[in-house]
């Protein structure tokens, strides 16, 4: 009996223990997950959700992501990469893959649709106005994403509600076919029109530069309609317009003027608001153009930016791209180097073409030296150029962040026996020649080494002037520009030019405003000199490294001719310009500088854009998952 009692004493607690398993397993909770019920009625949490969603807007080449893409078109070559095993890093990109720009971003669309529906349904504690404002902001992001998709893919299915699977085993009811490219552009326009006045984010007359407001909505519409207008026009001017039977890609030529007009109207609404103006605070136009991007306080030019703040939100553009000479870290620098083609695209301020004068071929023969002009200083060759060159690119003979860039590839020493100059170069930084003077500078350029210029130029745009901003641990908080006034003026100029007739004076006014800021005299372009090619060149120069070039060439339908894959086509190849010191004691040319131009030593394959690149490939899994999706042409 006693034993049985003891047995019970031990069994009873065991019985209780048997209840405690589940209780214990309920105890841990996730310290990183918020439940739906904790979000939709809390404005702070909805704002945090918006932070995530703004941060996820699609990126192609941007200062904080996708930087190597800048080295894939005609803005530069990749040179400084530590991991140099890919074709991109080695500049050996023989073609652009059909899926290079593919974007099928429906997780993002689903998150936006879910948020739009949930705010409507669950945010009972928010005022009607607050709900309207959040919902308009989410619709802006959705329109932005559809624009990013349509410019890469052509028409995509327009999904505006959450698609919920019922786990029945038959998901066919969730299938949606692609809308036409025209429908997507029209959807973007109508969405932006609908939210323009309810999106808010303007406090006492000053629109936010970070969050969607009337003017960023207009700016997006201005850009999207310009794209639609030019695709409608130039796609149909191709020998064989790119299109599909269901019009998933390709826009009707008849819509072109309407789209251009919509773009111009949106631009004019921004221009006439008087809120924005071109940044013009520094009397030196070159410094002014550089400051236009990097000076944040009171900057009247920016319409929408992606902002950063040290130390909580920073990026490493300066670390990756800073000129080797003034880098502040023992790794990286000089990852993308601007090429000579871009440098020469900057015209002289007197209006003549920007081709540099007196440049040798680099063949190290007498014939290669006949063209030489002997310059007193390395920067003399760049004198009187469009000031945006100085604001965008670091070139020889200048200084940046208070440090002389010291760019010299080597020396040319006179040989009396050969009756020509003989070239000497080195791969050692700040190495001296036998005469005790500089052989190769701290800033290169060098043919082989990494983390130094391969082309003879460095990027200056977006590089932070602050001390230590190019050190990994510190980083930079220069903002990324989504929309700025300069672009709006160029959009307006192009739309007005394309519309022609009575709009030409407007086109001239807008483009000349931009050119005047770059150091050109007033009214430097006039009716007879205003051409599409001129406007295309203006965009290339004004908006270099702002992720416009590749998309602009596509919408003008000239990518396949500019980047035709031929080593004989200069625009498809990337060139270098190397400065040398001349040694010829006793001769007037001794101590002067000469320049050689040749294919960038690390550039291996000409740019090759194929017709199948105009619309990117839809991945096989997307096609498998939904039989209603049709492929793009050429794939």
């Amino acid at each position: 009996m006693k034993n049985i009692l003891k047995f019970l004493i031990i069994l009873i607690p065991l019985f209780f223990f048997s209840r405690c398993g589940d209780k214990l397993l309920d105890q841990p909770w996730s310290t990183t997950i918020l439940l739906e019920s904790q979000v939709w009625n809390d404005k702070a949490m909805i704002t945090d959700l918006l932070a995530n969603l703004y941060n996820r807007l699609p990126v192609h080449s941007q200062i904080n992501s996708g930087e190597t893409n800048y080295g894939c078109y005609d803005e530069g070559v990749n040179t400084g990469s530590q991991e140099s095993s890919t074709d991109i890093a080695n500049n050996n990109l023989t073609t652009y893959s059909y899926s290079r720009w593919t974007l099928w971003d429906y997780t993002y669309i689903r998150d936006l649709n879910q948020a739009i529906e949930s705010i409507k349904k669950y945010s009972s504690k928010l005022t009607v106005k607050e709900k309207q404002q959040f919902s308009a902001e989410l619709r802006f992001l959705r329109a932005y994403d559809y624009f990013e998709m349509v410019k890469r893919m052509g028409g995509v299915p327009i999904i505006t509600t959450q698609l919920i699977y019922d786990f029945s085993g038959d998901p066919t009811y969730l299938r949606h076919a692609r809308n036409t490219e025209e429908e997507v552009y029209d959807f973007i326009a109508s969405e932006l029109d609908a939210i323009k006045d309810s999106v808010g984010n303007i406090s006492s007359g000053t629109p936010s530069k970070d969050r969607a407001n009337k003017y960023s909505v207009l700016a997006l519409k201005c850009r999207a309609m310009l794209y639609a207008g030019s695709i409608a026009k130039y796609n149909n001017l191709l020998a064989t317009p790119i299109t599909t039977p269901g019009k998933e890609v390709g826009l009707p030529a008849a819509r072109s003027a309407g789209y251009y007009q919509a773009s111009l109207n949106a631009a004019k609404e921004i221009i006439n608001s008087g809120i924005y103006s071109l940044y013009n605070k520094n009397p030196n136009p070159g410094e002014n153009f550089y400051e236009m991007i990097v000076k944040k306080a009171g900057n009247p030019e920016m319409i929408m930016t992606t902002d950063f703040l040290i130390p909580t939100r920073k990026h490493n553009w300066s670390y990756h791209e800073i000129c080797r000479t003034m880098r502040e870290d023992n790794l990286s620098s000089s990852a993308i180097n601007p090429d000579l083609g871009l440098v020469e695209a900057f015209d002289y301020l007197d209006g003549t073409a920007g081709t540099l004068k007196g440049v040798g071929t680099g063949s190290n023969t007498a014939a290669g030296q006949t063209n030489w002009i002997f310059y007193d200083k390395p920067n003399d060759i760049f004198a009187n150029k469009d000031a945006r060159l100085y604001g965008t690119i670091v070139y020889p003979g200048t200084s940046f962040k208070g440090v002389d860039v010291e760019m010299q590839a080597g020396v040319y020493e006179w040989s009396a026996s050969l009756n020509r100059y003989v070239r000497y170069e080195s791969e050692t930084f700040h190495s001296l020649y036998t005469d005790g003077k500089l052989l190769t500078g701290n800033g290169g350029p060098m043919r082989i080494s990494q983390e130094v210029s391969n082309t003879g130029f460095y990027i200056k745009k977006f590089i932070d002037p602050a001390t230590l901003s190019s050190a990994r641990g510190v980083g930079t908080d220069i903002w990324w520009v989504r929309f700025r006034y300069g672009e709006i003026l160029l959009n307006a100029a192009e739309a007005a030019f394309e519309l022609g007739g009575a709009n030409i004076p407007d086109a001239l006014t807008y483009v000349n405003m931009v050119r005047q800021r770059a150091g050109f005299p007033a009214n430097s372009l006039y009716t007879s000199t205003l051409t599409l090619a001129k406007l295309q060149s203006e965009r290339r120069l004004e908006l270099a490294y702002e992720d416009h070039r590749v998309w602009d060439l596509m919408r003008w339908r000239i990518s396949h001719t500019v980047w035709n894959g031929s080593s004989a086509t200069p625009s498809a190849n990337q060139y270098a310009l190397y400065p040398y010191r001349v040694i010829r004691p006793g001769h007037p040319n001794d101590g002067k500088y000469v320049f050689d131009r040749f294919l960038a030593p690390k550039f291996k394959a000409a740019r090759f854009f194929q017709m199948g690149n105009y619309y990117s490939a839809i991945s096989q899994s997307v096609l498998d998952n939904n039989p209603l999706i049709v492929k793009n042409p050429f794939h």
Partner: protein
């Protein structure tokens, strides 16, 4: 390997000035604490166990256990700034390089503490009735763990002050995770006359990883043993077999595989991306995908048949086993339901796939004596492979896709790659070669380059030409073996423990394959020394001198020689390593007594781990157990110990 032989660590070899080499952070001159900074790591552990026993007196015993463990880990790092110089030979001055050296200082403090609480209540029953013995156990146990982590990261303005300041802070990282598990266990043993053994086990396990309705799993098992040598009919064989036992078992256990904690919750992930609105940085919250509610434990089912034996008066003992471990319910998504990509989510995982491991293992030990030498030698070996049994309704676009990508019913770790037929011997051979080897019409090829096998005969080398080219890489060898031996001779003893493996593949790459590496660095001598090259490197018309490796090229990692995984750079590794050896001498009692030091025992010994290995990776200067394809990891170290022990 990233340093260049043409660069010196110090400018003008003066140890006061670090040379500004092409990549200074790998300059060995900077690898000094006073120079580059320091890292200190502390681990502190406190562990306590409390238990209470109670004996009921009729064969039933109870034990309650509670244990508490506190683990604390601190890491302190300080990276200094330092300058780098170049030496000006003409002016005889050392010039500090702008942007050289290290200007990227940081100071980091990491703290982590884990608290583990474990409780168990166990009942044991043990009773013998004549020839029957019964034992039973019932238990409940639970574990709860909390982990907290904190990192404070600052950019210090000076190298001299290690104290961190708020104004210098650029990072704060805080993590807190918890876990809990519980299980009920029952076991019943029955033993008849030490002849028949039977055991039944059952576990009921619960884990916090799964949704409430799926968090518990029941896992039973049975074992039997039959000691043949105790049977009357075995008597005639007793002279040979002193012991012979047959064993068999079948059992299941659960595994938490392919599941992430709280995957069953929807909602939002905190701190995912951030954005700056009007000057203020906002922490982002990211919508989570569909909750994973249908997932539960993966079941491991193990089956094993074995035999234990001892023969010739226990001189030889051994055991052999055949085993199979089947895993069912491996998480996968039901992909025959094709959800359009436009819905923006994918279907959550369920317990659908299965796989298994199969193998045999054996061990034999011999105890013997030769004159005054007493010794025993044991060998053991295991052969094991894993196999995928079933995947959820596999689907293939075509028969090649199935051949290439199916895992259904196949051994795992198929090592796909290209087969190399040989090397081009001359430019004429390249010019006449009908197959496009390099993807560029053979324009990039030189004598000595690799000839890829055109498996499908389409005159171009691409992924269609891959086939299995070796055993698994980077995992355990299919076959492993060991040899343990002990020798004793008049107070001197020797222990040798060998371990080895075979049926394992290592494919060397990166720095060991590509001349001048992937990092603009140097290459091993064996790679550069024995290669195809021109007789005169400055004359591109001079004749080719054959070698083992293809001709070198700089900055051309995408060349066909390097870009494809092939069997030219394959080694099927086999090795036998003297893992540890000890030789010792015990001073004899006679001698100890003579010195009258009060010593009862004295021993001197030396032991060495990893004294040598016999292998086929010596040529590459790489340890055979290194799985890194670049070999750029620390190999096993060789440790020498000398010691003595005295007992008073």
């Amino acid at each position: 390997m990233r340093n260049w032989p043409i660069e010196r660590p110090y400018a003008n070899d003066n140890p006061l000035y670090v040379n500004n080499t092409h990549s200074i952070n790998i300059n060995p001159a900077t690898y000094k604490e006073a120079f580059t900074g320091w890292t200190d790591e502390y681990t502190r552990v406190f562990k306590s166990n409390i238990y209470a026993d109670y004996d009921f007196g009729f064969g039933l015993k109870a034990r309650a256990t509670y244990s508490y463990e506190y683990f604390n880990w601190i890491m302190e790092c300080f990276e200094f700034t330092y300058p780098a110089y170049t030496y000006d030979r003409v002016a005889k001055t050392y010039n500090q390089v702008v942007g050289g050296g290290n200007l990227n200082p940081y100071r980091r403090t990491d703290r982590q503490h884990n608290e583990t609480k474990y409780a168990q209540l166990q009942l044991n029953y043990n009773k013998k009735f004549g020839k029957h013995t019964i034992a039973a156990t019932a238990a409940y146990d639970q574990t709860r763990m909390d982990l907290q982590f904190l990192r404070i990261h600052t950019i210090p303005p000076t190298n001299y002050i290690p104290i961190q300041n708020l104004v210098d802070q650029d990072e704060l990282n805080n993590q807190w995770t918890m876990s809990a598990r519980a299980s009920y266990t029952g076991r019943l043993n029955y033993n008849f006359n030490e002849k028949y053994l039977l055991e039944a086990i059952g576990r009921y396990d619960g884990s916090y990883m799964y949704a409430k309705e799926n968090r518990w799993g029941f896992f039973p098992g049975v074992l039997f043993g039959w000691r043949l040598s105790n049977e009357p009919f075995f008597k005639s064989l007793k002279g040979i077999f002193s012991e012979l036992k047959l064993r068999g078992s079948w059992g299941q256990t659960g595994a938490e595989s392919g599941v992430s904690a709280f995957g069953y919750l929807g909602g939002f992930n905190w701190s995912s991306g951030s954005y700056r609105f009007n000057g203020v940085t906002y922490t982002g919250i990211a919508p989570r995908g569909l909750p994973v509610t249908k997932l539960s434990w993966v079941t491991n089912t193990s089956t094993n048949i074995g035999i234990d034996f001892a023969i010739f008066n226990d001189k030889i003992t051994g055991q052999f086993d055949v085993f199979r471990r089947k895993r069912t319910g491996i998480p996968a998504a039901r992909y025959d339901v094709l959800i359009p990509s436009e819905v923006g989510y994918s279907l959550p995982n369920e317990n659908l796939n299965s796989a298994e491991n199969r193998g045999v293992e054996g061990m034999v030990t011999y105890r013997g004596k030769m004159g005054p030498v007493i010794f025993n030698i044991g060998v053991n070996t295991t052969l094991s492979r894993s196999k995928t049994l079933e995947t959820y309704k596999p689907r293939f676009g075509n028969s090649w896709d199935e051949y290439r990508n199916s895992s259904q019913g196949r051994w795992d770790n198929i090592n796909w790659g290209y087969h190399i037929l040989g090397q081009f011997q001359s430019q004429e051979q390249i010019d006449d070669y009908p197959v496009n080897v390099d993807g560029s019409g053979n324009r990039t090829l030189l004598p000595g380059d690799l000839i890829y096998e055109d498996l499908n005969g389409d005159k171009i080398i691409n992924t269609m030409d891959q086939k299995p080219i070796g055993y698994a890489t980077g995992s355990n060898p299919y076959m492993s073996f060991g040899l343990n031996s002990q020798f004793n001779y008049k107070g001197i003893d020797l222990v040798l423990v060998f371990g080895g493996g075979t049926m394992q593949t290592w494919i060397y790459s990166n720095e060991l394959k590509i001349p001048y590496g992937t990092n603009n660095g140097n290459s091993p001598q064996w790679l550069l020394g024995d290669r195809w090259h021109r007789a005169d490197p400055y004359d591109n018309t001079s004749e080719w001198i054959p070698g083992y490796y293809p001709p070198t090229r700089k900055d051309f990692q995408t060349h066909s020689n390097f870009s494809r995984t092939n069997d030219f750079y394959r080694v099927n590794v086999s090795y036998l390593r003297l893992g540890s050896t000890e030789i010792g001498y015990n001073v004899s009692q006679k001698l100890l007594n003579r010195f009258k030091l009060g010593l009862t025992k004295a021993r001197i010994y030396t032991n060495i781990s990893n004294l040598f290995s016999i292998d086929n990776t010596l040529k590459f200067q790489v340890d055979p157990e290194v799985s890194s394809s670049s070999g750029l990891v620390y190999p096993q170290s060789r440790v020498f110990n000398f010691g003595f022990s005295l007992t008073f």
